[in-house]
C-alpha cells in the first residue's frame, strides 16, 4: 500500500512465524478456523429456507454489497489484532470520510477523485499517528485509538457544526451503490463486491505471501522473540495501523456510496469489525488469524442480522445473539488452542 509496509529483512527462523510453503500455511490457517465457514454456510441455508428468493444471484449479490464495508473493515482490523493491538478509531474515521467527502466534493463530480486521494492520504496519516503514538510513545493502542476516536469524531462534528453539509455526486456514490449492469445470470455486479475481492486479495497477498506478513504473526505471537530475531516490531505494528486506517477509508467510501451523507455512518463499526475478526478465529493479543476467515466473520455477522430480521425476532434479541456468539466463538478458539498443545 505504501512504503511504510515495506518490511525490514526477515529472519523468520528465529521468530514464531508459521513455517512451510504459503499454500500449506493458508491451508492450515483455514483448517484452524474452519468453524466459521460451517456456521456461515448453515446461516445461509437457514436464510434460504426462510426466504427462497435469497439465493437468486442478483439478490445474493445485493446481500454481499451490503456486507462489503464490514468485510473490508474486518480485513484491515485483522492486521492490527494479529500484531497484538486494537484499532477502535475506525468507526470515527468512516464517519469522517463520509462527511468530509460530502463537504469537499459538494456535488461536483470532477472533485471526486482528488478528494478520494486526499482521504486515502489522510487515512494513511491517521494510521501512522496511531502507530507512532502506540509504538514510540508506548501508549496502549486501546487508549491511543480511543483517544483518536474522540478526536476524529469531535473534529468532524466541529468542522461541520454538527450537521453534515454538501452532497456526494453519482461518481462517488456508484462505488457503494451501483455496479456493472446486465451481466448474464447475475444481473448487476456491484462495484462493492469488486472492492471486497481486490482489497481481500491484497490483504491475503500481504499477510500470507510476504515477509511482512510473517513478521506480523511473529510480532503478535511473541514480540520479544520477534524483536530479538531482528524484526522491527514498531514498524510492523505501525504498518498494521496504516492498513487498518486504509481499510476504514475504503469502507467509508463504500458506506457513503451505499447510504449517502449521514452523521452516524461509522457509529459502532469498530466493535462490529473486532467481533467479525474474532468470529473468524483470530485471537486478541495477536499471532493467530487469517484474512479470509475474518472476512467470513463479517459476512456471518451480516447474515445473523438478516436472518433475525426475516425471523421477525425482536430487534433487542439480536444483541443477545451477537453477544453470545462472540463469547462462544472465542471460548471455542481458546479451547482448541489449549487442546492442540
Amino acid at each position: 500500500m505504501s512504503a511504510r509496509t515495506a518490511p525490514p529483512p526477515s529472519r523468520e527462523r528465529f521468530g514464531t512465524a508459521p513455517t512451510g510453503s504459503p499454500g500449506r500455511r493458508i491451508g492450515r490457517a483455514l483448517l484452524g478456523t474452519a468453524p466459521i465457514f460451517v456456521i456461515l454456510a448453515a446461516l445461509l441455508v437457514w436464510i434460504t429456507i426462510e426466504n427462497p428468493n435469497f439465493t437468486d444471484p442478483p439478490l445474493f449479490l445485493l446481500f454481499l454489497r451490503r456486507a462489503a464495508p464490514l468485510m473490508v473493515l474486518a480485513a484491515g482490523q485483522l492486521f492490527v489484532i494479529l500484531a497484538g493491538e486494537f484499532d477502535l478509531s475506525v468507526g470515527a474515521l468512516i464517519t469522517l470520510v463520509v462527511i468530509v467527502a460530502a463537504r469537499l466534493i459538494d456535488g461536483e463530480p470532477e472533485r471526486t477523485w482528488p478528494v478520494i486521494a486526499l482521504l486515502l492520504l489522510f487515512g494513511l496519516v491517521v494510521g501512522l499517528v496511531n502507530g507512532l503514538i502506540t509504538t514510540r510513545l508506548h501508549v496502549p493502542s486501546f487508549i491511543t485509538t480511543l483517544g483518536m476516536l474522540l478526536i476524529l469524531d469531535g473534529a468532524t462534528s466541529y468542522w461541520t457544526g454538527g450537521s453534515p453539509r454538501g452532497e456526494l455526486p453519482e461518481n462517488f456514490r456508484q462505488w457503494g451503490r451501483l455496479g456493472i449492469e446486465d451481466v448474464p445470470v447475475l444481473g448487476q455486479l456491484p462495484y462493492a463486491v469488486f472492492a471486497v475481492l481486490i482489497f481481500g486479495s491484497i490483504a491475503v497477498l500481504i499477510l500470507h505471501f510476504t515477509a511482512y506478513g510473517k513478521q506480523v504473526y511473529a510480532t503478535g505471537g511473541n514480540p520479544r522473540a520477534a524483536f530479538l530475531s531482528g524484526v522491527n516490531v514498531s514498524a510492523v505494528r505501525t504498518a498494521a495501523f496504516v492498513l487498518s486506517a486504509t481499510s476504514a477509508v475504503i469502507a467509508g467510501i463504500l458506506l457513503g456510496g451505499f447510504t449517502g451523507v449521514s452523521p452516524d455512518a461509522g457509529q459502532g463499526r469498530e466493535f462490529q469489525a473486532i467481533s467479525a475478526v474474532v468470529l473468524g478465529g483470530a485471537v486478541l493479543g495477536g499471532g493467530r488469524g487469517a484474512v479470509v476467515p475474518a472476512m467470513a466473520g463479517a459476512l456471518t455477522l451480516e447474515a445473523i442480522f438478516t436472518l433475525l430480521n426475516i425471523l421477525g425476532l425482536e430487534s433487542p434479541l439480536q444483541y443477545v445473539v451477537q453477544g453470545v456468539i462472540i463469547i462462544v466463538a472465542v471460548a471455542f478458539a481458546a479451547f482448541r488452542q489449549r487442546t492442540a498443545r
Partner: protein
C-alpha cells in the same frame, strides 16, 4: 467521550429530541384502548388530533410566536428591569435537528440586546449530567432558566429544584412531570405527527395494501406516540402493516431492511416513518432495485424535500417544527418585561404536502437542514446554518 457508546446508543438520544408530548407519564386510561402501546393516552390523542384544525392565535408569518388555545397566566412576579442574564440547560446537540435549533436560538438571543448575558451548558445527552448542570446554573444568578430536558422523568426533580429556587423556569421541546415551570413550550405533538403521516398513506395506498413502518428505536415516548397514532389510523383504514422495524438511525440498516421486505413480499405499497432523517435511504432501496417508489412519509429535512421534488414522489412530511427553539427566548424576554404568556404554549405543527412543497424547498441549504427552522429572516442566514449564500 459522552457522544459515543457501543454501537448506536447515540441514536437513542437523537430520538429523544425529535418530538414532544405533554403528560408523557400518564398511561392509557381509556376503557377500550384503541392502541396496544403502553404509552397510549386516548385523551391526549384526541386532543392533539383536534388541535390540528384549530387556527392558532398570532401572526401567521411568525409561527414561533403563535399559540393554539392560549390560556395566559400572570407572570408579574418575575418582571424586572433589563439587562438580563438568561441561562439555558441544553440536553445536547447530538443530532442535526438540535444543531439547527441551537444555531437558531443563539441568533434569537442576538436579536434581544436586553439580554446582556446568555449562559448555555450542554449535557451531551446524559440525564445525570443535565441534573448537575441545572444545579450549577442555580448558583449563577440567572434571571431566567430555560431547560430542554434530555428525558421527561429524569429531569423532573432538577426542574422542581429550580422552581423552588424561585427562578423563572421555561421548559420546551420535551416536557417534565410537573407544572411548576412558568411556561411549557411545545408543538402539538407526536400523535398529530403520526396521524398526519398515516392518514396520507391510508388515502394513497389501496385497501389491504402493504405498508412497512420504519422506526428508529423502541421505548422513546415521543416516538412511541407517533407510532401509536399511526397504528390506530392504519387499523381503521384496513391497511396491512407488513412489518414494524427499528433502524437505530443507521442508514445502511434502513436500506437493508427495506430491500429485505421488498424481496420477501414482492411489493410494498407504502412506507411510514416515525422520523424523516433516513427517508432518503428508504427511497434509494426501491431505486436500486429498479422499482417505483411507493407513497412515503418523511420530515422537513432538506435532502428528503429535494428528492421528493426532483423525482416527483407521492409523499408527505409532517413536521416537528424546529422554530420552537426561538420561542423560549422570546417568552423569557416577555415574562421578564412583565407580559403574560400561555402556561402551556402550544405551537402550530405545519404539514408539508405536494401543494406547498416549493415554499419549503431551499436547495442552497445543507442536506440535514430543517425547512421549518423559522430562521430565514434572521441575521447571518443562510451561512450561519451552513447554507450557501450564492445558491
Amino acid at each position: 467521550m459522552r457522544r459515543r457508546t457501543f454501537a448506536s446508543w447515540r441514536a437513542f438520544s437523537i430520538l429523544l429530541t425529535l418530538a414532544v408530548t405533554a403528560g408523557a407519564s400518564s398511561m392509557a386510561s381509556a376503557q377500550t384502548p384503541a392502541s396496544s402501546s403502553p404509552f397510549f393516552n386516548q385523551e391526549e390523542f384526541e386532543r392533539q388530533l383536534a388541535q390540528r384544525s384549530i387556527e392558532p392565535e398570532g401572526p401567521a408569518d411568525e409561527p414561533w410566536i403563535q399559540a393554539i388555545q392560549p390560556e395566559n397566566v400572570d407572570t408579574g412576579q418575575y418582571a424586572q428591569p433589563a439587562p438580563w442574564h438568561v441561562c439555558f440547560s441544553n440536553a445536547g446537540v447530538n443530532n442535526p435537528w438540535r444543531v439547527v435549533g441551537w444555531t437558531t436560538m443563539q441568533a434569537e438571543v442576538e436579536l434581544h440586546p436586553e439580554i446582556e448575558r446568555f449562559t448555555a451548558v450542554d449535557a451531551e445527552g446524559d440525564d445525570n449530567k443535565q441534573i448537575s448542570d441545572i444545579q450549577d446554573l442555580l448558583g449563577q444568578e440567572c434571571d431566567a432558566l430555560i431547560v430542554s430536558p434530555n428525558t421527561t422523568e429524569a429531569l423532573t426533580p432538577a426542574v422542581e429544584q429550580a422552581c423552588a429556587a424561585n427562578i423563572l423556569v421555561i421548559v420546551f421541546d420535551r416536557g417534565v412531570n410537573t407544572d411548576c415551570p412558568v411556561t411549557f413550550i411545545h408543538p402539538i405533538g407526536g400523535y398529530a405527527f403520526g396521524a398526519d403521516a398515516a392518514e396520507f398513506l391510508s388515502e394513497q395506498v389501496p385497501e389491504g395494501g402493504n405498508v412497512l413502518a420504519l422506526r428508529i428505536l423502541p421505548g422513546v415516548d415521543v416516538l412511541e406516540t407517533r407510532w401509536a397514532a399511526a397504528e390506530i389510523i392504519f387499523n381503521q383504514n384496513n391497511i396491512n402493516v407488513v412489518g414494524v422495524e427499528f433502524s437505530e438511525g443507521d442508514r445502511a440498516r434502513v436500506k437493508s431492511i427495506v430491500t429485505d421486505y421488498i424481496t420477501r413480499f414482492g411489493q410494498i405499497d407504502g412506507i411510514w416513518m416515525d422520523a424523516g432523517q433516513d427517508a432518503v435511504a428508504a427511497i434509494e432501496a426501491f431505486e436500486d432495485l429498479g422499482l417505483d417508489v411507493p407513497p412515503i412519509t418523511g420530515e422537513d429535512q432538506q435532502d428528503f424535500l429535494q428528492k421528493w421534488s426532483e423525482d416527483d414522489l407521492t409523499a408527505v412530511a409532517p413536521t416537528y417544527p424546529n422554530f420552537q427553539w426561538r420561542t423560549p427566548i422570546i417568552a423569557a424576554t416577555m415574562i421578564l418585561s412583565g407580559q403574560q404568556v400561555p402556561a402551556e404554549w402550544v405551537l402550530p405543527q405545519p404539514v408539508i404536502t405536494a401543494e406547498n412543497l416549493d415554499q419549503y424547498l431551499q436547495p442552497n441549504m445543507p442536506p440535514q437542514h430543517y425547512a421549518l427552522c423559522g430562521c430565514e429572516n434572521m441575521p447571518g442566514f443562510p451561512e450561519r446554518w451552513g447554507g450557501d449564500p450564492a445558491g
